[in-house]
Symmetry: C2
Subunit: 433 residues, 2 copies
């Protein structure tokens, strides 16, 4: 059991996504059990002085391919199609179970460093993704997506089935921290039969679905040629939106696509850095939000980012959407922080996460504001979104357990992970020269 | 005299903007006096182990309004015009000499924290800008721009003249660290007589010119209505480009404007975060560079950014220009780092700065790469531009003098600056409520 903690006289981002405080905030049994202007009578195991600190809900990264840490900086200056086919897929074909495991641990250490505890993850070798996450203490919605290069290749799908069975075992789901999702890589790597089979399976087992949607213009247009409908209409037609779904990217959605997503309650995982870096384009987030779509934030894999610092996405999400919409009042810092926390937790089906309130899961991140660039503080929310650095995180907590604090990774042997990741990464890069 | 320093076995970004090393790099008398694969015989005062470190040329921020630190987070969610007229100008009208001095010191501490030593600065109260910079040890090209709200208000211009005379005194120019530029705020706050007078004065005294150019569509279009020509043509016509000039923003240049800038050797100071945040737009950097224009990078003031971390601009410059041009191969990490260093130094007329080579000014920043997000390292230049954080700077050196090291500000009393800045900033915000 994690020790109980009392943060004393600390500023918080409250459930309305406003700054409030200073307050006393207590954590016990994995939950927030006290938010009070006065000191509680209860004795906590540990007390932390909140001076020059702000407590945020820990961040939720709604689109990742974490073991791609092995490919950081490997495939630079390619468009999505060449990047995938010429560089990424050949490299990934070499990855072993061990590579996935250590790549995952290194990624999760990095996440913790930058205040993220939960991710919506799409990769392969589910067993290793779960194993690393069970050890690291993170939360994850994880899928091994259907990826049909031929028309009848459902191998990955059966792997998902296998792990779903495996995960009836509570010791593997890690007290609910690990949730197995169904995954469909994308329209262009699927076919109607595979999508329907996956959707039916998800429905039957109460699973959520993750997929890539209209990331590039080519993907969007080619789908229309292939099927006579857009990718969003295709997935709707074949049942993928009949369960809660998180659709990554959505750069090229048309108005009717947005209507579908709004009607079906699909979450959009917006990945602004990755979309810019691969020259995929800029999603119309303002229109999505006006239509009532739940918009959350992701980094995508580090091969197209090239880090897992979601604070960078916070700022870019804010400023890019002002320019893209021509409206400098869109979005507000509160909307930005909500997209990176509560909206993500909702999309993962984690109703008690992503927000600071009494009884919520104690998923928290502590920001140190004692920095020259955090002064003056006319508007703490603005300072958090625009001025703060991901490295200002001094503590990351998941379900009340400290995962990172002041340079120390409590659950991950980072040196070992770096060693193992680099050993394989350089070997494969060399072989592919 | 600063102590001499030998960096031992350190990676460097060399004069071709490639990574090289490890090397021994010596600093003495304010210059780089050794770059060698083997240890030099010379004894240096101090030796620094280069393990897990990279030496970059210190960054050059080519468009700032540093004392706007007082307005950090003050004027959120406004378009440029409202932001300036309703919020910024009324606040700035209250600033005293002391406010400018302390705002400047706080800003320069923040710059040093993020590896920047030199800025191209446009603000008012030149004396305080110089006083703070003389103390902080930074380099600055500084101007007090002509800003004619009425048609005959040349008050600021005479202030520049006054300081130019003052700065014949070598003790004030701080051994060339401080260079006084002529400044013209913008087309919409000038008139032909004022521009010609300023240009003549600059020519006569061998000064460079700084100005704002085509930042917003409205500014660009209104100039055409007013004068029948674009702002670039207006400034060319009235002589502002007859001396070396740095034009900030340039978001709405048309093709002919770019031809003018290329022909006249005008540097464009691109400010991607500020331009997005104020919804001004996205500059066509690819076309500028294809036409041979020198493109450098700036943060603009913190009121529209909201920090002075030029590393954020590095990454955004790279990814935004990929998306804006539709070309994922544009720009390379080398081009990005060059824009943030050498191109900026050139625009300031500092021929011996912004690059690591034998005999160059020892303007250096040291990055610590011992971070989870800097591994693996398939491509160190990509890791520096896309993965590194501004806070990974562990040392910032200007003319061989250490200004920042491991959390210590050697020349600025940051606590005092924060105290003084906040005292005034909150008072004025309160008065303007």
């Amino acid at each position: 059991m994690a020790e109980s903690i009392l943060f004393e006289k600390i500023m918080i981002v409250n459930e309305d996504f406003n700054c409030e405080g200073p307050v006393y905030l207590g954590v016990d049994g994995g939950k927030i059990d006290c938010i009070s202007e006065t000191a509680p009578e209860k004795i906590y195991d540990r007390r932390i002085d909140g001076k020059n600190k702000v407590l945020l809900p820990a961040l939720v990264n709604t689109h990742t391919h974490l073991p791609m840490t092995l490919l950081r900086g490997y495939a630079e200056n390619y468009s999505l199609s060449d990047w995938l086919n010429k560089k990424v897929f050949p490299f990934e074909a070499k990855l072993t179970e061990n590579d996935i495991y250590y790549g995952m641990l290194l990624a999760q250490a990095e996440m913790f460093r930058f205040g993220t505890v939960s991710t919506t993850e799409m990769y392969f070798r589910l067993g290793q993704l779960c194993r690393a996450t069970a050890e690291s203490g993170a939360k994850i919605n994880v899928c091994n997506p259907i990826l049909c290069f031929g028309s009848t290749d459902f191998e990955n799908f059966s792997e998902t089935k296998e792990y779903l069975e495996l995960l009836q075992d509570k010791s593997v789901t890690a007290d609910g921290r690990i949730i197995i999702d169904m995954g469909i890589h994308g329209e262009y790597t699927s076919n109607p039969v595979a999508v329907e089979k996956a959707a039916d399976f998800a429905k039957e087992h109460g699973m959520r679905i993750q997929l890539h949607l209209s990331e590039t213009k080519a993907e969007h247009e080619e789908c229309k040629q292939r099927h006579g409908i857009t990718p969003a209409a295709y997935f709707e037609k074949h049942g993928a939106f009949d369960v809660p779904c998180t659709a990554a990217h959505c750069v090229w959605l048309d108005d009717e696509d947005m209507e579908i997503l709004a009607r079906k309650g699909v979450t959009v995982a917006n990945n602004p850095i990755s979309n810019l870096k691969l020259a995929s384009g800029i999603a119309n987030v303002k229109k999505m939000m006006e239509k009532g779509i739940n918009v959350a934030l992701g980094t995508d894999g580090v091969a197209s980012n090239n880090n897992l610092n979601l604070f960078e996405e916070l700022k870019l999400f804010a400023v890019l959407n002002k320019a893209a919409s021509g409206d400098p009042a869109f979005v507000t810092p509160a909307q930005v922080l909500k997209a990176a926390t509560l909206n993500g937790a909702r999309s993962q089906g984690r109703d008690n996460c992503g927000v600071i309130k009494l009884g919520a899961a104690a998923d928290l991140t502590v920001i140190d504001t004692d920095k020259p660039y955090m002064h003056p503080c006319h508007d703490l929310m603005a300072n958090l979104v625009y001025s703060a650095q991901g490295t200002d995180v001094v503590m990351t907590v998941c379900d009340g357990r400290v995962l990172y604090e002041n340079g120390e990774y409590k659950t991950v042997d980072v040196e070992r992970a770096v060693y193992e990741v680099e050993k394989s990464a350089y070997k494969y890069a060399n072989e592919l020269k």
